[in-house]
């Protein structure tokens, strides 16, 4: 049998984390639920943000969950892929902007 760290069925068991630490678990799920309610941002906008972040933190559970959530909300594949690019652009931008630090250091150390 092949061994893997991730098992898709584990997503269904997410709520079980509360069993080992009830107070913290419940606080987390209350907070989580509240965050995704309609607010100044629509639930649809939040779903797209969540999808982008899921890719940036590279969580396969979140990617499964928010792809499905997006489908349920009628979000189409072009919108989903653009969201993923937003995440990727910020992530690569965050890497590249450190290039300035490298340049600064280089200049400082060079005669």
């Amino acid at each position: 049998m092949s061994k893997t760290y991730y098992n898709p069925d584990d997503l269904r068991k997410f709520s079980k984390i509360t069993e080992w630490s009830e107070e913290l678990g419940e606080k987390f799920f209350d907070y989580y639920g509240k965050v995704f309610e309609e607010g100044a941002l629509t639930a649809r906008e939040k779903s797209l943000i969540a999808l982008a972040v899921s890719h940036v933190v590279k969580c396969p559970y979140c990617i499964d969950a928010y792809t499905k959530d997006g489908l349920q909300r009628g979000i189409n594949k072009e919108e989903m892929m653009e969201a993923v690019h937003v995440g990727a652009a910020i992530e690569s931008g965050a890497t590249l902007v450190h290039g300035v630090q490298m340049m600064n250091k280089y200049e400082k150390l060079s005669m």
């Binding site: 269904r12 649809r44 489908l71 009628g74």
Partner: protein, 351 residues
């Protein structure tokens, strides 16, 4: 895209008892998920019983010009089951005496029944308050002989309810077949042109949305807003309400779930979304569904699973409103589709 109905392919799932067997085995048999009976018993809602009859739904036949992948009727051009004039006469007798306020004609494509127009003319004389025809839209454009259907509907003050999976072409055609989107748009424009669906109009035009895949529909109101905004901006189309309907795991949709390896996840999602408050309002509590051959069922879904009403009289010729009232509803695991989230039925989610 599929080319034939399950029935024509002689697929094992074209047999109602095989579908029921499937829905009782696996995750339900091994106890991973509770059966629907167990679930509603937790909130003391078993057995479910029929209340006053309000909606009479007649299935005029399984023939359809389309062959949608998710179809719970397993309808298509290759289905020959059609309600005869004799059965229609039996139904008319019931329509004349029933206290139901809504008559709902469905199929397949009910318009393909050769006696459809005669039947609508006769039935409209009974003065039923809400007379619904479920029209798949493309039928109006399918053949010259159907082009005048919008005028015919208007003449008899028919309430048109039509399916539209998405406001974009790609998603619609994937679920319902190539060209369906363009034809549906033209049909909607035809209906709008004679007043159907216009903001102040009494000529009702509602749309039905089913998710195109193994997921549940989201909030009905926000979907309605998206549909309205896009159809108006892109095609200048108006309609009244959108009903968001959960696909029930039966017939072709069940087949799709199994083949695409989504069945278990989908059942988990349905059970997860179980809403005890939705149980009291499921459609079987005020509806009677009659098949093309005159048998009576608690709902259209039970009709497809061949689960006849639990009452002494099972055929429309023996219809008796008193004996049907309070009958115990026949249930199985497919019923989870009616109690997920806000709850849904052929009338859309309850708001």
């Amino acid at each position: 895209m599929i080319k034939q109905s399950l029935h024509k392919r002689e697929s094992i799932l074209s047999k109602a008892e095989k579908q029921l067997e499937y829905l009782s085995n696996g995750v339900f048999k091994n106890g991973d998920l509770p059966s629907f009976k167990q679930k509603i018993s937790e909130t003391s809602q078993f057995p479910m019983r029929a209340k006053k009859l309000e909606i009479l739904q007649l299935n005029l036949g399984y023939m359809c010009n389309q062959l949608c992948e998710h179809c719970h009727v397993d309808a298509g051009p290759d289905r020959k089951e059609i309600m005869t004039r004799e059965t229609m006469l039996q139904c008319l007798k019931v329509i004349e005496k029933t206290g139901a306020h809504t008559l709902d004609l469905t199929g397949g494509a009910p318009e393909m029944n050769p006696n459809f127009r005669w039947f609508v003319e006769e039935a409209s004389k009974a003065g039923i308050k809400d007379f619904i025809v479920r029209s798949n839209l493309t039928i109006i454009r399918a053949n010259k002989k159907y082009n005048d259907l919008p005028m015919f509907f208007k003449k008899h003050n028919v309430h048109v309810v039509s399916s539209m999976p998405h406001w974009t072409k790609g998603k619609t055609d994937k679920q319902r077949g190539d060209g369906v989107f363009d034809q549906s748009i033209k049909a909607l424009q035809d209906l709008n042109a004679i007043g159907y669906g216009m903001p102040e109009s009494d000529l009702r035009l509602d749309l039905v949305h089913n998710p195109s895949g193994a997921f549940l529909p989201s909030d009905q109101l926000s979907l309605e807003n998206e549909f309205k905004k896009s159809l108006l901006a892109d095609f200048n189309i108006h309609f009244h309400n959108l009903f968001a309907i959960t696909n029930l795991p039966i017939s072709r949709f069940l087949d799709y779930l199994i083949v695409s390896d989504n069945y278990e996840d989908y059942m988990y999602a349905l059970v997860d979304a179980f809403n005890p408050a939705a149980v009291a309002n499921v459609m079987c509590t005020n509806t009677l569904s009659v098949s093309w051959d005159g048998w009576m069922y608690d709902c259209d879904f039970n009709q497809m699973l061949e689960l006849k009403v639990n009452s002494k009289a099972k055929h429309i010729k023996d219809f008796n409103e008193e004996t049907l009232r309070d009958r115990e509803i026949v249930i199985s695991q497919h019923c989870y589709g009616c109690t997920a989230g806000a709850g849904s039925s052929c009338q859309g989610s309850f708001s």
